[in-house]
């Protein structure tokens, strides 16, 4: 392969990005070297096994990916803002909606949520870390390396262009010969391994490491939804692993899983993809539900209404989520009875979801509501998400779906579910738990700008898509002719996306401003909160709790505050055991990335040689008998005095 095939050439937009990426890399390396921060980066971040730091790295990566995916979205909106525009050509538009979809779901929503889970869950259950801290770091590095691998595709080798669903036969070698779709198959495989490990890690953490007294029905709602999400991850991701392996074999080794002529079956891909893909949307939305529940209970100053029904509906949603996948291809030749069954299961999901909506509303009822930013996002979520849900029930009707299938109506629907359900939740979670990570609040004032711009922009962008969809505009159309009656709506929608982008810019400015100017003396419990993560210092010390708290009821910290039992006795302090940092996770992550890169380009000799790196990492890991270290009582005492004043 010659160099000009290796790098994507000939498009000024891409050339500009290549230069920008190159300059940014050089700039970053120069900056770190200038500040002499390499050692610090390595020992404080790259080799860390601390769940809070890993969470912060996830969130940072998620914000970057949101930026990338958002730019893709804006470019699509620009291209369709007027009829017959030639800003993007058909090929480029295909690539952009593909990378947008994949990045938003797998490299933005997932890391944001897993990041917040990482920061919060151990604290919320009164634990000192996750069950397997080193594995947790490995999950992060696999995700991160996979995200980077996927992202370089547009400058090196070419982007995937068969949609985030990558249906066969289109995604096969015959119709998509370049390396683009290899990136899809291999980067997602690497990320998937990391996600599976996260799922296992959080199940064990939540099952085994809860503070004494925290029985199942005293677990905070976010912990519950994270547990259920982790279970869905374990149940669904292996399906995707297999599907991607088939795709890789078909594309790289000439097998015929999905080619009809040689006895393959493209519908096999569709079924496997959605057997994973539908549960995946619940994987991202359930933790979000949990975060809203925490935020709403805190700022309504009430305990969550209908806690038990909330738990049962989360479990019910998880169960049903496995039984609906066919609703993504009603129109692809199923019998009427199959469609009917899946129509019913799909509509049934609306029931537990509706239960949750009413629980939130009843929690608000007669509450002393405080309109903090986290709360605003939660309040905006309820109506916006309901629009997504109601249009979802419309799509669930198989007969009607022949009309809606693959139109902009569908695109509007899933953005109304994913943006309120995931993005609003992430914003709510960030405003709420920001102090826990960094020790100061994000500015509430700039936050209002962020909120109003984003929510208004979101509705302006996606509401019109419902109407053009009903008017017959199909999805993934890169342009259209005049006189179809769409240009008004789409122009509107393009303006909306700029407003939304301004909202995102306000968030970035808020982060910058708050880092510099926000007050630092906010105490350990800035929101007057209810759950255990606030029972320790803010930001949380690296050992989380000097003494593991004991739980007697739901909302334990609220209870402790009422009874005045938040203090700490000196005699309760014992040395705390902590895991040591480790180089193997980042090493393994990079090794997987290198092998993955060679596989993408089908350079098999290099791939085999470089897989020695993976073997070295695994062997080193197996021979690692490091048992961690202990924090002495004196150090604990000193750190606790720093924020508590005196110990009892």
């Amino acid at each position: 392969m010659s160099l000009d095939e290796f790098f994507v050439t000939g498009d000024p937009l891409i050339l500009a990005s290549q230069i920008a990426i190159g300059l940014t890399m050089i700039g970053l390396i120069a900056l770190v070297t200038y500040l002499k921060r390499w050692k610090w980066l390595w020992s404080e971040w790259f080799t860390t096994v601390d769940h809070k730091k890993i969470g912060i790295m996830y969130i940072l990566a998620g914000v970057l990916m949101f930026f990338r995916g958002g730019v893709d979205g804006l470019m699509m909106k620009a291209q369709t803002s007027r009829p017959n525009l030639e800003f993007l050509d058909a090929q480029h538009y295909d690539e952009i909606f593909t990378t947008h979809g994949v990045i938003m779901i797998l490299f933005m929503a997932m890391p944001m949520l897993i990041g917040i889970m990482n920061v919060v869950i151990p604290l919320q259950i009164g634990a000192r870390d996750v069950a397997f801290p080193k594995l947790n770091a490995l999950s992060f590095w696999l995700f991160f390396v996979a995200a980077m691998l996927f992202n370089v595709s547009f400058v090196i080798g070419g982007s995937p262009d068969a949609g985030w669903t990558s249906y066969f036969p289109l995604a096969g070698k015959e119709f998509t010969p370049g390396v683009g779709n290899n990136y899809y198959a291999i980067a997602l495989q690497i990320a998937g391994i990391g996600t599976l490990a996260t799922g296992i890690n959080f199940i064990v953490t939540i099952v085994k490491m809860r503070a004494p007294g925290m029985t199942w029905m005293k677990m905070p709602m976010f912990t519950w939804t994270s547990l259920v999400t982790s279970i869905i991850i374990v149940a669904a991701f292996p399906i995707f692993t297999v599907a991607l392996a088939y795709m890789t074999l078909d594309r790289l080794f000439g097998t015929h899983f999905f080619t009809v002529a040689a006895g393959g079956d493209p519908m096999l891909w569709l079924n496997l993809f959605w057997l994973w893909g539908h549960p995946e949307v619940y994987i991202v939305v359930l933790p979000a539900f949990g975060m809203f529940s925490e935020v709403i209970a805190t700022f309504a100053r009430k305990n969550l209404y209908g806690y038990k029904s909330m738990v049962f509906s989360v479990v019910g949603i998880a169960f049903l989520s496995m039984l609906v996948w066919v609703h993504h291809f009603y129109t692809m030749g199923n019998s009427a009875s199959v469609n009917t069954v899946f129509s019913l299961t799909t509509m049934m999901i609306a029931i537990p979801t509706g239960v949750k909506i009413f629980n939130w509303l009843f929690t608000l009822r007669k509450g002393r509501i405080e309109f903090s930013n986290a709360m605003l996002w939660s309040l905006a979520f309820i109506p916006c998400f309901t629009i997504g849900g109601v249009t979802g029930v419309m799509l669930a009707m198989a007969a009607a779906d022949y009309q809606y299938h693959n139109t902009m109506f569908l695109v509007a629907h899933f953005h109304y579910v994913l943006i309120p359900g995931v993005v609003f939740a992430v914003f709510a979670g960030l405003y709420y738990w920001w102090p826990k990570m960094f020790g100061f609040k994000l500015s509430e004032k700039i936050g209002k700008w962020h909120f109003w711009l984003f929510v208004i922009g979101f509705n302006l962008t996606f509401m019109p898509m419902f109407f053009v969809g009903l008017d017959g505009m199909s999805r993934r159309m890169y342009t259209y002719s005049e006189g179809l009656g769409w240009e008004g709506w789409l122009g509107f929608s393009a303006v909306g996306s700029i407003v939304m982008a301004a909202g995102f810019a306000a968030l970035c400015y808020n982060i910058y401003w708050s880092f510099r100017y926000a007050p630092r003396d906010i105490g350990n419990d800035p929101w007057n909160a209810r759950t255990l993560e606030w029972a320790t210092a803010t930001p949380a010390p690296h050992y989380n709790f000097a003494k593991i708290p004991e739980v007697t009821r739901l909302d334990p910290y609220w209870d402790m505050k009422k009874k005045g039992e938040t203090g700490l006795k000196k005699s309760d302090l014992k040395p705390v055991h902590m895991p040591s940092n480790s180089w193997t996770p980042i090493f393994l992550g990079v090794a997987f990335g290198v092998v993955g890169f060679f596989l993408v380009f089908e350079w098999f000799t290099l791939a085999i040689i470089s897989s020695i790196g993976i073997i070295i990492g695994l062997v080193a890991n197996s021979f690692d008998y490091d048992e961690g270290y202990h924090i002495p009582v004196e150090e604990l005492e000193e750190e606790e005095r720093a924020w508590r004043g005196d110990l009892k």
């Binding site: 000192r128 870390d129 069950a131 397997f132 599976l196 799922g199 296992i200 890690n201 199940i203 064990v204 099952v207 085994k208 490491m209 374990v234 149940a235 669904a236 991701f237 292996p238 399906i239 692993t241 297999v242 599907a243 392996a245 088939y246 074999l249 080794f253 000439g254 097998t255 015929h256 899983f257 002529a261 040689a262 006895g263 393959g264 079956d265 096999l268 496997l272 055991h577 902590m578 895991p579 062997v619 197996s622 021979f623 008998y625 961690g628």
Partner: protein, 201 residues
């Protein structure tokens, strides 16, 4: 993270961390069940799509498959003996039965590789049809698991030689034994639903 111990449970369960590792591994096996179920389901979908290539019963050699089954099932038994020796705190017994287990595993792999070579000579490669793709991938995934297990357990043997039976090595051997038995169970399904069914239908 606490090193809390209780003496009246087997060594590998004695610390909280060990209990969590074992639970985590069980959950991982749950994920493996999903993985193999998917491979089986795809195999059932593509089983009859031979696209003019060979059909299962034309190429399967039942005798060799029976030998493979015998080798793997016996290795599961010796693996059980190894854990039994470990519970009796016999380092040499654990060593011995583990090595026997690995030898059976290697025998199985040898037979399986020969089997694959035979199929390729018969004109059934992984690229021949939907059927062969699903067949080789299912078998290959199982075989790759066995190979991985052999290397992994060999590494554990080195650790055992160096450190003896401790809480940590006992846990590692116990987890490896779960893995090994699991592969045996998967093989029983392969034997039944791929080979026997293929011969009969």
């Amino acid at each position: 993270m606490t090193a809390h111990t209780s003496a009246n449970v087997p060594l590998e369960y004695q610390t909280n961390q060990n209990q969590m590792n074992i639970l985590g591994f069980w959950i991982f096996l749950g994920a493996e069940i999903v993985l193999f179920s998917t491979l089986f389901a795809s195999y059932f979908v593509l089983e009859h799509n031979t696209a003019g290539g060979p059909v299962g019963h034309e190429i399967f050699i039942l005798k060799d498959v029976l030998i493979e089954t015998f080798l793997l099932l016996t290795s599961s038994f010796t693996c059980g003996l190894a854990i039994h020796a470990m519970r009796n705190n016999s380092k040499n017994g654990l060593m011995f039965w583990t090595i026997i287990t690995l030898l059976f595993g290697l025998g199985f792999l040898y037979m399986e590789i020969n089997e694959f070579i035979h199929y390729i000579h018969e004109g059934a490669t992984i690229q021949t049809s939907g059927f062969t793709a699903a067949f080789f991938t299912l078998l290959g995934t199982h075989g790759a698991h066995v190979s991985f297990g052999i290397v992994w357990i060999a590494l554990l043997l080195i650790q055992l030689a160096k450190r003896g039976i401790t809480q940590v090595t006992a846990r590692k051997f116990f987890i490896a034994s779960l893995y090994w038995h699991f592969l045996d169970v998967v093989w029983i399904f392969i034997f039944t639903f791929v080979y026997l069914k293929g011969m009969v239908m």
